[in-house]
Structure formats: structure tokens, C-alpha cells
Amino acid sequence: MIRYILLLVLFSSVTQVAVALTDTSSIYEEVESSVYQIRVINNETGKKVAIGSGFVVQQDNILATNYHVVSEYVNGSDVFKLEYLSTDGETGPLELLDLDVIHDLAVVKSTKPMGKPLEISAVPEKGARLYSLGNPLDLGFSIVTGTNNGIMTQDQDGNILFSGNLNGGMSGGPALDESGKVIGVNVATQGNALGFLVPAKYLSVILDRLADNDFLPVKDRFARISEQLIANSERTIERLSGNDWGTTQIGKFLVPAELDKSMRCWDLSRVPKKDDLFRSFLTQCSNQKNTYLSKNLSLGMINYEYVWMDTEKLIPARFYTRYEKMNSSFIESDVDKSDVTNFACHTGFTKTAGQDFKTTVCRRDYLKYKGLSDMLFSTVLVGHPAEGGVFNLDVTGTNHKAAYGLFKKMVESFQWKN
């Protein structure tokens, strides 16, 4: 089967393949000396905890890679150090200059010249041939050819879709066009032959910022990260707020449906049984988008859920015992006390769509990332003996003011339909 496919490819595109092959080998030769393995080393054991790829860009001592390749070092710079490994086996220290957690980029500096800097270029047209370089699975350097499948929209994540086999360890390696210029940085893979590249323009932003600053390292990395997270969260919420949400009905409420194309909503209602004494519905929506910060911390999630319960057969006390159990909201995450404070909460009663609600706002702040909060909103219909409705909204890694704005706008668009 495999042989068959390979033969088919050879016969069907003989001329093209011949051209592409010369291209691939010449590109490999040209840039090989500019691509390195980037590794995070434990100071005590001298062994690597993470590896990725990186390439020389802008100056002969500046390298670009992914943030997630060096994240271990960013979060524990007293325990780990950064190192490069060249194709001919030479190693040396690296210094972290700047990073962009939103687009998963980092720029590091070497103490000595590392080779010819690669040039940055715009993303070519859809369907163009691309070459992705890196060090897959720590097996040595390799080059992968693939096709540019276009840039995804902003409400996805703006990355380039690359049909080529990216593998672990290639993260941070360059993706080149046919003239050997960098158009993106390998960042992720999904399923079969589906890769994602960060457009190189985001790398240019960091490099320009560094050039203005004589390539001095960023003083407070965590402050830089929280700035980026807050700005990103504000941008996202602003974008969501500007959308036409449409409405969906849950029980007697008309509520916002998907805030955005990136939101995925699922119905998680329990399957009704014949002898049920009450009805209950649950819809959950999530933006499925997290900014990776470390192994157990990813932020930028926006989740919301609607619950509706009603009954014709239960007496109020019995209905409310069940309804009260639905009134419990929390944020699923792996944070511990070195990341965040405890939640501080405030509860009161509010009027929405002419109905009374018991409303709670909880907020916890990140210790390292100043000004960054997780926000939890919960509003619960009260005063109806046989009907109940719950709306929960969680926003992680956000500016609390922006999250307040989103909650307010969502709640104010509720309508009661009797």
C-alpha cells in the first residue's frame, strides 16, 4: 500500500518532483548552518528537560524559537539554563531576550556568531510549497516539505495551516518559502499531516522592539507576559462584544448563542426519563483557546453555560433542593497556591429581564502576573417556585474590568419569554 502510493507520486509528477528535490536539497544546504536545536537543561543534573528548534535571524547572534520550547526556563530560571546544539554537535549557552506568549514566540541571544541570519518574508499565496526545518523527536535535523493552506481567521488563532508532517522537537524551527526566506515558525501539529505555523510577521514585531532597545533582554518577563495576556484578553473580549451573538432559547429565557465562530457549544442535558418529576437542560460553550504558559497553566479560556430547570410535579421545597445543587460553579484548572490567591467573592440580588437573580462575582489574581485575574460570574433565577435558571461565565487570565464588561453585556441581553 505504501509502496503503491509512493510510486503513484513518482509517476504522476515526474518533472515537478525533480525540481522540488533540487530545491529541497539546496535549501537544506543553504540554511543548515543557521538552524539549531534549542534545549532547556537542568543546572543540577545537566540533562535536558525540553528540546525544540531555533534559527538565526536578523543578526548572527540572535535566534528565534517558540515560547513553549523555553517555557520551562522562563518559569524556573534559577533551576534551568538555555543551550543550543548545532548540526555538527557543538553546544553553547543562550540568553533569553524577549517573548510573545500569545503567538508562542521567543528570541534568544548567543555569545558568539551562529551563522547567516535568515531573512523574513511575507506569507506566499495559498498552495505555495513550504519547507519546514527542525529536529523531529531529537533524531537529527530534517526538512519537511508541505503546502501553505492559508492563514486561519483571527477568531481561530491566525496561524498558517501547513499540510506537512511536523513532529515534536521541530517546534521553533523555521518554515521557508521557495526562495529560502522565513515565512513562519513551526508551532503545533494536529492529526495526520496537519501542522500550524506562526506567521513570521509576529516575530518581526519582537525583533523590531528588540532592535529599538539594542537587543537588551527584557527586565521583567512576567510583567511582559501579563501585559501580553491582558492585551490579548481585552482584544478578544472587545471582538466578542462587537459580534452579533444571535439568540437561543433555554427554558423561558432568550440568551446569547455563540459569541463568536471560535466558540463551541454543546448540549449536555440529561436524557429525560418517563417518570421524571422535573425537566433540566444544560448548554455549555467554550472558546477552546488557551495561551500556553507552563505545563500546568494555560490561560485565556472563556466558558459559559446555561441551565434551565422546571417542574409541574414537585412541591417548591423539593424542587429547590434539587435546584440548589445546580448552583455551584468553579473553574477547572491545575493552579496551586504558588500561582493564584484564593477566590474572593461577592453575592447579591440583581434584576435581569424583569426577573430576580442571585448573582455572584468571584475573582482571584495571579501572583506572578500582575493585573491578571480569573473571573467567575454566576447568576441564578430566584422567586419562581417551579422554575430555575442558571448562567455561569468563567474567564481566565483576563483583565477583570474587561470580564465585567462581557458579563454585563451578556446578562443585559437576556429576555424573558412567558
Binding site: 468553579f330 440580588f349 489574581d365
Partner: protein, 326 residues
Amino acid sequence: MEKLILETTQRGVKSYHKLEKFPVIIGRGFDSDVIISDVTVSPTHLKIDRLEDGFEIQNLSSENGTKLNDVPLSESPQSLSIPAEVRLGDFKGRILSPTAEVAPTRIKSASNGWFSFLSNPYWAGFFVIITAIAIAAGKYISTPVSQDSLMYLSKVLPAMLLMLALALLIASVSRLSAHRWAFVPALSIASLFLLLPLVFEYIGQFLDYLLTTDWPSTILKHSTEFLLLPILLILYLTRVHYIRVISAIGIAVLVTMPVTAFFISDMVDQMSNRSGFTPMPNYNKSLSSLDIRLKKTMEVSDFLEQSESVLNEKVEKLLEQARDQY
């Protein structure tokens, strides 16, 4: 002064012997004037004699001896001043004058009156029925699916069984100590022991929603844990056994010590959990179909503004605490 009274206490019961014909011999032997069955008492242990101007006391026991007001007596007679405490071996007694005042009569509460809710059988019956109803209602309310009525009965019966067993235990203690069964008060106490926690739980939930805070239910829960058993015991001791309040408190504290110790360790655990880090938001989740509350309904924007300033302050404090820790 021609006569004396010898007060002896055996198994908590006091008995009195009038000493009229002197000399009086006290001992375990059947030829003694006052026979005492305690095995640490010698057959002929103590002699009390009347003199012209008073009494004298003489230890006759060479085995365990006699103490007068905590001082060991020699074998030679010694003058006796009244009242006096004597100790024959392990056996305790007091020598009193017939004119000594006795303790005031304790007035028995009008038993079976409507207000003596412990000993009136109607009250006991009422408590039992209310407890059964409360348990059944609690189960009914907390299961939002249709169930057979026999199902509820099967939930109530074990509780009733527990109540009867508890009542029987209390009554047996009464029987042993006071030679009365006193089953009605025992039943009242046992049913109150099961009923009151349910009542307080309901009140706690009501107050939680009324005040929009978790404190009332927490306080009521802990007070039930710590105070219910001692208070019921004190009631039982004072009303049924006519024990003085001070002694009853002492006994209640002593008896409930193991239970209290358990709840204290449990509470300390909870407190240390609460003061530590938790990823769970802690807010008042109570809901009530009655919707009786003190907090007024606000406009969403006003509430959010208020919560923003409240939370700013709270989070600032939490951040300060966290910074102090690291």
C-alpha cells in the same frame, strides 16, 4: 448532748445510724453495735464512748486502722469533737450531732404538668411523632424522583429504632442509678437528640438565604455538635435525677468529653483547610423557594460596580497575604 448520728455512704446511698447506748462498737463482726460490711473494716474496728463532758473515740483495728479528720488514730482513746469525719479502712463515715441541720428539701417539679416537657408522656409522644415526620419529610424533600411510600418508611424505621435503643439505654442507666426506669423522659431525650439537629439544619438554611451568608448554618451546626448532647444530659440529670445544676454540668462535660474531643479535632481540620489555599470559589450558594431575604434586588450595573470595589479590596488583601507567605 447525749446522742450521736453516724452517717455512712455505701454505693452512693447514705444511711444513718442513731448511736444511743454507749459505748458503741463499730465493726464488721456481728457482735458490733453498728455492723459495716465493707471488707477493709476489721470485725471490731472503732469504739465511741460518752464521757461526762463529751465523747471519746478509740481505734481498735490493728489491720487497716482509722483516720479521724484525715489524721490516723492511735490505739489510745482520744476526745471527739462533733461533727467529724472518720475513715475505717476504705470505708467513709461522718459523725454528726442529732441537731445538725439537714439540706433543704428539693421541690420535685410538678410531674406530668403541661410544662414539664420531659416527663409528660404526651410531650414524649409528640416528640416521637414529630421526629418521625421530620425524618420522612427530609427524605421526601431531598429525593426529587417519585418513590414508593414504603421507601420512606424504610428510611424512617431505622431512625426510630435508634431512638428506642437510645431511650432504653438512658432508662437502663436510670434504673441502675436511681432504681427507676423513667422511660418517658428517656424517650423525650432520645427523640430530641434526633429531632433538634434536623430543626437547626433547617433554621440554618433559612437564615443562610435570609442573610446571604454561610455563617448561620455553620454556627448552628457547630453548636449542635458541641452543645446538644451536654444540654440534654444536664436537663435529664436535673429534671429526672434532681441533681444540682452545677454537678449536672460537671457530669455532662465529663461524659461528653470524647464526643467533644472528636468534634474539636474535626473543626480544627476544617479551619486549617479553610485558611489554606483552595481552587474552589467559596460563595453563598443557598437557594430558597420562599425567597425571604434582607438584601434588596439591585440593577445589574449597580451590583457589578459595587462588587468591583468590594473585590478590589478583598483581592488586594489576599495578594498581600500571599506576598507575606512567599
